[in-house]
């Protein structure tokens, strides 16, 4: 039930902001500070999420095969690999390390 509540709230919230962007007259929110903040918020959220989903195990921080997987993804990104290949690199390296007992 909790999962459905979370899904419902996310559905409504995400659709509302998408629609608001199309309906609200641009000049009301197109102030430089608001635009800058809107550009920086995803940076902060994505950085925190990347770190947490790589190093978190519940409430403890761990260093496991996922870190190597993320490293592989970073290398693939620097080599300008396409999106799917970057994700595949992370998955394959993580699985490979676990297979050999990492």
């Amino acid at each position: 039930m909790n999962t459905w509540i979370a899904i419902g709230v996310t559905v409504l919230g995400c659709y509302a902001v998408k629609l608001a962007g199309l309906l609200v007259p641009a000049h009301t929110v197109e102030r430089p500070y608001v635009r800058r903040l809107a550009a920086l918020l995803p940076v902060a959220l994505l950085a925190a999420l990347t770190a947490q989903q790589t190093f978190a195990d519940g409430h403890t921080l761990v260093l496991d095969a996922r870190a190597a997987g993320l490293g592989a993804a970073a290398v693939a990104l620097m080599l300008r690999a396409p999106f799917l290949l970057v994700v595949a690199a992370a998955v394959v390296v993580t699985a490979g390390l676990r297979a050999v007992g990492g």
Partner: protein, 244 residues
């Protein structure tokens, strides 16, 4: 920004090709979401509902990640919501470019995401922008939902998603979205501070909350930036920023 200044022609076929390229490539990654969501303990219906109704990848990954970590549903939804706020700013730009009739906007809104915005902004005129938006939106929506379903079914078939390294897909997706945003020192500082806050507070705060606190790195960086500029007095009084 004002496309009347640049009314260059671009063949419709070229626009469709660009749009399909993005739509297909990113649409296929719905598979990663389906697998991750199922691996996080969500049911088939819940996983598909997210792709059909939320349809903004980063928020979907964030939500299932937070739920898997045992987060409160509202905290989990808040993280997903704040990630989705950027779509409102995409919509502001797109509504100028596309000039959609009011009756169409509620339907077009669901497709206002990173990829459709990137394709639409790259077009030279309104006709191309409309074609680019529609083709990217449609191909991405159809594929993303199909591959979500396949991924969720596949995850069930393969059993332990961790053994297959699939728990590394989520962070890799986030990193891929994040990397092109790290253009200046401010963005890198925000990312670094957010990582410190997100990891440092993880042991002490309820699941999902550290990410929300980490989001404060953004206004904090703007505040420091503003003060520094005020002291240096090198820019205009309002510190107008040029983005993109």
């Amino acid at each position: 920004m004002d496309q009347t200044a640049d009314g260059a022609d671009k063949p419709d076929a070229a626009v469709v090709r660009d749009a399909l390229g993005v739509g297909v490539a990113v649409g296929l990654s719905g598979f990663a979401f389906g697998v991750t969501s199922a691996g996080s303990g969500l049911g088939l219906l819940q996983t598909c509902a997210l792709s059909l109704l939320v349809f903004t990848g980063a928020s979907q990954f964030a939500l299932v990640g937070a739920l898997a970590a045992g987060g409160n549903p509202f905290t989990a939804a808040a993280g997903a919501f704040f990630l989705g706020v950027r779509n409102a700013f995409y919509g502001l730009r797109l509504s100028q470019l596309l000039a959609l009739p009011r009756a169409v906007r509620p339907f077009a809104a669901q497709w206002v995401i990173d990829e459709t915005t990137a394709v639409t902004l790259a077009q030279p005129n309104r006709r191309a922008a409309r074609i680019g938006f529609t083709v990217t939106g449609l191909s991405l929506y159809v594929l993303w939902n199909l591959t979500t379903l396949l991924g969720a079914l596949g995850a069930k078939a393969i059993g332990d998603t961790r053994a297959w390294g699939l728990d590394a897909a989520g962070p890799a997706v986030f990193l891929t979205l994040l990397a092109p945003m790290l253009k200046t020192a401010t963005e890198r500082a925000v990312a670094g501070l957010a990582v410190l806050l997100g990891l440092g507070l993880l042991p002490v705060l309820p699941a999902g909350v550290p990410v929300l606190v980490a989001a404060l790195a953004a206004p904090l960086a703007l505040f420091v930036e503003g003060r520094r500029r005020g002291r240096a007095g090198q820019d205009g009084p309002d510190g107008v920023e040029v983005d993109r």
